[in-house]
């Protein structure tokens, strides 16, 4: 009798767990402060609105492209929504690993009725990409370096001035962005960048410029390394994502300041993996529509200093949820911060990534 009850209870439990599983939504993102901001701005309100929906956070965005390709080959896609950077979305879309979406059907209009694709504007970089934020890779420097005698770097090219600003620099161990920055400081105009880079001498010119500071560079491969090095005094100036620098400066109160000159803009957003289960689609669509509407995108900026991708969200950006400071001046899209800026040419990099990466690695090893 007792055994039968237990069995029945277990059966009932497993049945309910199955029905709950049907409303599970696996969302892949970057982890850390970024996932926390999405959790607060999107996931929690969505789960409060739709009872029975359970959002599972997976922090695999770093290797999302490789994993999606493997899942696709194995014919078993276990993710529902994936957060990726713009260039990765391009590759996923190209390879048919991400679903193409129709903005009119998937995305909410702006409050004043503007069509979504107009509201998102240039951030809709391909047919699969659902933009969330604009972020930038830019520089932070320590404000207490004695050797600088009170001077502070004001232009990107101060990175290359080791006489005036001695000390270690922290740069990414990838050619992208570094090559462009080096050429800009070697006298190449913004509009000519990719023309120069397409010639073999162009890359050599950039590497020669980087050579002038090579012995002062510590290379990073994870975005958290530069903030750490700046806080430790291991580096005096370094590149990383602007949100990471915001948290070093405003949340951890370290003696660090931003150098926005020639920041490189990138978009980050959602893609829906191709081959996602049919019966999941309505729920996924509902989530996307909710999480990318004007208010939600503006809400995310309360928790992290990345700019919302919708034009209609900009005026709604308010104060930081805990610190109470105004977030607008910390946004990469703030007019004062984007006097000089760059956007990577995704197509050029798709073509030349392999070759330039090889040249860069050889140069690093020299």
């Amino acid at each position: 009798m007792k055994l039968a009850t237990t069995l029945l209870a277990t059966a009932a439990l497993s049945l309910t767990s199955i029905s709950v599983q049907a409303a599970d939504l696996t969302i892949v993102s970057w982890g850390g402060a970024y996932s926390a901001s999405q959790n607060n701005a999107y996931h929690k309100p969505f789960m409060a609105m739709k009872s029975g929906v359970n959002i599972i956070n997976d922090e695999s965005s770093n290797e999302a492209v490789a994993k999606l390709r493997a899942m696709n080959e194995a014919g078993n896609v276990t993710w529902d929504i994936v957060d990726v950077e713009g260039p990765d979305s391009q590759r996923l879309c190209d390879e048919g690993l991400a679903m193409e979406i129709d903005p009119a059907e998937w995305l909410a209009k702006a409050p004043d009725g503007t069509e979504a694709y107009v509201d998102f504007g240039p951030s809709m970089i391909n047919k699969c990409f659902i933009p969330q934020i604009v972020f930038s890779t830019t520089f932070g420097y320590r404000t207490d370096v004695k050797e600088w005698n009170g001077a502070v770097p004001t232009s990107l090219c101060d990175i290359f001035d080791t006489a005036k600003f001695p000390g270690k620099r922290s740069l990414e161990k990838r050619p992208k962005k570094n090559i462009e920055w080096a050429l800009l400081c070697d006298g190449v105009a913004k509009d000519d960048l990719y023309k120069v880079m397409s010639k073999p001498e162009g890359i050599q010119q950039a590497l020669a410029k980087l050579d002038t500071i090579k012995k002062d560079v510590i290379w990073w491969s994870a975005g958290a390394e530069t903030p750490q090095r700046l806080a430790d005094g291991e580096a005096v100036i370094g590149s990383t994502y602007n949100g990471r620098l915001f948290s070093v400066i405003e949340e951890q109160k370290q003696p660090v300041a931003m150098l926005w000159d020639w920041q490189v803009f990138d978009f980050d957003g959602w893609i829906i993996p191709a081959g996602v289960k049919e019966d999941k689609l309505p729920l996924i669509k509902e989530y996307i529509q909710f999480a990318t509407d004007t208010q939600r995108l503006a809400d995310q900026a309360k928790y992290i200093s990345y700019g919302p991708a919708r034009a209609s969200s900009q005026p709604l950006v308010g104060k930081h949820a805990d610190l109470g400071i105004d977030m607008a001046p910390h946004m990469p899209t703030n007019p004062a911060n984007q006097k000089n800026y760059l956007v990577n040419n995704i197509e050029w990099w798709a073509d030349n990534q392999d070759e330039v990466e090889a040249a860069f690695q050889v140069w690093l090893a020299k």
Partner: protein
């Protein structure tokens, strides 16, 4: 002679009249079958999760089926074209290409093909994307002219040469890239001096792994010796000191080394405080080969100490006493009697440490900077970032071959029987 002297060939029979030999082998076969059934689950597990992925990886390093599968007609049409000439292929090749591309676009294969060929020649990626969009509007005659109008790259014989060169179902391309070489129309040639990287990385990986193994042996031997000599209670206490880091997460240990080694780190602070070095001349012990060697020696040390310890435990102290009573001094007794018996432990530890070291990538990535990274860091890059899985597979296969060759040499020189884990 003895065989001839044997009595007639009458077989020995068992009680039930069968030949003894047959009966014996039947019993043995049944025994073997039972033993086989017992290991079957493990065997299936090993095949499925270990052997199959390795074979799959090895196959990827030569697989080029995407080209003939995506462009079947083009491949056939190109058979007649001589790549040595500077002339472009004829109209039929272009027509075949457009037809192939139309089908590829429907399955979104053209961009994958673009990524594949982009490994061999930069520019294929966007060429395929552009051409994929263009083929929808191409119709009628003069397909050649229309395609060239859509993207002038199709008027470049080099594009067609690459296409023809990589039109087989298998390719040497990935292995050649992994060896800093490339395929040309005139055969295989090495890349220019300034573009070679993988051979250097292979060499560095081997050298640094050997250094780490040697350091582990030098540091580990006295520790294991001490542990084996001390009374059980003390040695157990000390053993915990060896095992504690062994149980700590790899990432935590590597990060701890970062805190210690960096220029504003604990060791440098201490040296400056003592006055051994000045504040302006802090030592660079991290983000280079030194950092990798220090951190990895520490991380891999238990793999040397544990087999050494278990071998030393089995060496009876009476041998040493006997040697001394026969007049040997402490050093002679140790060197002539104790050390030779502990060699199998060094062998086991060295093989373990070396094989683990050669495949390491997290620690070099975190503390190795640019001069302290291994070939495995490039493999990881190609797996997860550049998605050039073919090249990653070729590099992995070469690493596997290098390990097997070293293992073979080790077996010939030291002898694999001379390895003991206890």
């Amino acid at each position: 002679m003895t065989q001839l002297d044997m009595p007639a060939q009458a077989p020995v029979l068992t009680q039930d009249g069968r030949p003894l030999k047959a009966s014996l082998s039947r019993a043995l076969r049944r025994e073997k079958l039972r033993a086989f059934v017992l290991i079957l689950p493990l065997l299936a597990f090993v095949l499925l999760t270990f052997a199959a992925p390795i074979v799959d990886m090895l196959l990827r390093s030569v697989d080029n089926s995407i080209v003939p599968q995506t462009l079947p007609r083009t491949v056939v049409a190109l058979e007649l074209w001589d790549p040595q000439t500077d002339e472009l292929p004829e109209e039929p090749a272009y027509a075949a290409l457009v037809e192939d591309l139309r089908e590829a676009v429907a399955q979104k294969m053209h961009t994958r093909l673009g990524s594949r060929l982009n490994y061999e020649q930069s520019g294929f990626s966007s060429l395929m994307r552009k051409s994929g969009r263009a083929v929808e509007t191409i119709s009628g005659s003069d397909v050649k002219g229309q395609l060239i109008a859509a993207d002038s790259a199709w008027a470049d014989p080099q594009i067609w040469r690459t296409l023809k060169l990589y039109s087989g179902t298998t390719t040497k391309g990935y292995f050649l890239s992994a060896l800093d070489a490339r395929q040309t129309l005139d055969g295989v040639e090495m890349l220019p001096e300034g573009e070679r990287i993988y051979l250097m990385l292979f060499g560095r990986t081997l050298m640094m792994s050997l250094t780490i193994t040697l350091l582990c042996a030098l540091i580990g031997y006295p520790v294991a010796f001490l542990l084996a000599q001390l009374p059980m209670r003390t040695s157990n206490m000390l053993m915990i000191l060896v095992l504690l880091p062994f149980w700590t997460s790899l990432l935590v240990r590597t990060s701890a080394w970062k805190v210690l080694l960096q220029q504003q780190g604990v060791i440098n602070d201490m040296l400056v405080w003592i006055g051994l070095i000045s504040d302006g001349n802090r030592l660079v012990m991290m983000n280079n080969a030194t950092g990798t060697i220090i951190a990895m020696t520490h991380i891999l040390l238990p793999f040397m100490i544990l087999p050494l310890y278990s071998v030393m435990k089995t060496i009876s102290p009476s041998y040493m006493r006997a040697a001394r009573s026969l007049g040997a001094n402490d050093w002679t007794a140790f060197w002539r009697i104790y050390f030779p018996q502990s060699v199998p432990g060094i062998g086991a530890g060295a093989v373990l440490v070396f094989i683990l070291a050669i495949g390491y990538y997290i620690t070099p990535e975190l503390v190795g900077g640019t001069s302290g990274i291994f070939i495995s860091n490039r493999i990881a890059y190609h797996i997860s970032s550049s998605l050039n899985w073919g090249l990653a597979a070729a590099l992995g296969a070469l690493l596997l071959i290098a390990v097997l060759v070293l293992f073979y040499v080790y077996d010939k020189v030291v002898g694999i029987d001379n390895v003991k884990l206890g």
